[in-house]
Amino acid sequence: MSNISAILTRGAAAGLLLTLICASTAGAQAFRTESGHVAFHSSVPLHAFTGTSETLNGRISLADSTVDFYVDLITLETGIAKRDKDMRQTLETEEHPFAEFYGKLTTPVNLQAEGAQQVSAEGTFTIHGISREITVEGTLNRTPEGLAVEASWTLNMTDYDIKPPGILFYRVSEEIEIELQATLQPENN
């Protein structure tokens, strides 16, 4: 009986220690934000518009190279409330509230380096309930404010079953330019 409890105690202690070690090393290597900026540009002759959100959630862990970003699409604003509403209908945000990317960095990152480093990440982008494998190019820059991330890619609406809204005689372009900028803070575990 006493043996078992001793084992348990020892095991727990060892586990806790390991956990702390893992957590602290991971913590030093992981960065987060809840206030990143994301924008998309739809370019149609005479009808170009941009939607933006300042509540992009992001996390980059250098320990396991994961890149994780998501935004609640209800926070996107185009400057015209009516258009926002149309956009939410088009994206069916009630059923599919998030646009998200989860993947891995495929290029090494050096936190000691000065200036912006080109990086690329491969992973799954999900919007409108459809997931596709994509590769995103961007830069990482270790600044005094945190880890600055910039990335952009082009999304084709038809790939994600998004029916571009019609405007009288023409349709909104199927190609949507997406860009994100965020400064991630070191994670404190």
Partner: protein
């Protein structure tokens, strides 16, 4: 014993390790207000709580023709009569405040108007309705040998509106209108109770109705304005086709100068064009 210890340690370690997979997805804590209680900033004679957003310009072209029932075919459903046209521009200074100017053909009335949001209905039902204040100051610029101060008229309205589900909206607007040069029957201050409703058939079509009964004394011969019409939303413009007994497109004139009775069949055809431009 060794093996057991190792096993336990491993299990416990796994239990304690923070899962560094995806972040938990959390919905943003915002419940936007109901965006479109009405499709347009105004119906036929009265405004709606639909605000012109900041940095946007609302262009309205409103027409109403002659009475349909007066020699219908000879006058081609009233279209041969000169239409009363109000051309208007409204500017959204902020999302809560807009300023507008318009000019009406009849009596060459130029009017300045402003609209202020007090409350916006929340999409989760709190607050339960939208409230706006509207003011309109008109001046008759037709040559009449009167001093300018006698050419003024105005309206102050409180608009309370609620959207019931996605299809139906209702607005009640108590208002007071005033004329510097009243007609017989009233000393120049008129009270009214505007009622506006919109029923959506689809994303493209909606029916609307508007009723503006006078409360208390009225100018001699004035009838309550009533209109019924169809909104056509094209993705840029909103067209409004309507039948109405009023030929006026500002509150103070509709409440005082509507001279035919809708229910006696003396109504007109009219149409409005609405378009919002981002400046």
């Amino acid at each position: 014993m060794r093996i057991q210890t190792l096993l336990l340690t491993t299990i416990l370690t796994l239990l304690f390790l923070p899962a560094h997979a995806q972040m938990e997805r959390e919905r943003a804590d915002i419940r936007p207000p109901v965006e479109e209680i009405f499709w347009t900033h105004g119906l036929v004679a009265t405004g709606t709580v639909q605000q012109v957003p900041a940095g946007n310009m609302n262009v309205t072209i409103m027409h109403s023709f002659g009475v349909l029932s007066n020699r219908t075919l000879q006058n081609f459903f009233g279209l041969d009569s000169p239409p009363n046209v109000r051309l208007g521009l409204d500017f959204g200074l902020t999302d809560q405040w807009s300023l507008g100017i318009g000019r009406t053909t009849f009596e060459k009335v130029v009017d300045l108007r402003t609209q202020l949001v007090l409350l916006r209905q929340g999409s989760d039902g709190a607050p339960p309705l939208s409230l706006s204040l509207k003011g309109d100051l008109g001046v008759t610029t037709v040559e009449n040998r009167r001093p300018l101060s006698d050419d003024l008229s105005g309206t102050a309205a409180l608009m309370a509106a609620r959207s019931f589900g996605d299809a139906f909206s209702l607005q009640i607007s108590p208002m007071v209108s005033w004329f510097a040069s009243p007609l017989p029957g009233n000393d120049g201050t008129l009270a009214g109770l505007g009622v506006g409703a919109e029923y959506r058939l689809s994303d493209r079509y909606a029916f609307f109705a508007e009723w503006l009964p006078v409360v208390g004394d009225r100018f001699e011969g004035a009838h309550n304005a009533f209109s019924v019409g169809l909104d056509i939303e094209t993705g840029g413009h909103v067209f409004q086709l309507f039948f109405s007994n009023t030929q006026w497109h500002t509150e103070q004139y509709a409440i005082s100068h509507t001279n035919t009775d809708f229910w006696a069949g003396d109504f007109r055809f009219g149409f409005n064009v609405n378009r919002i431009f981002q400046l």
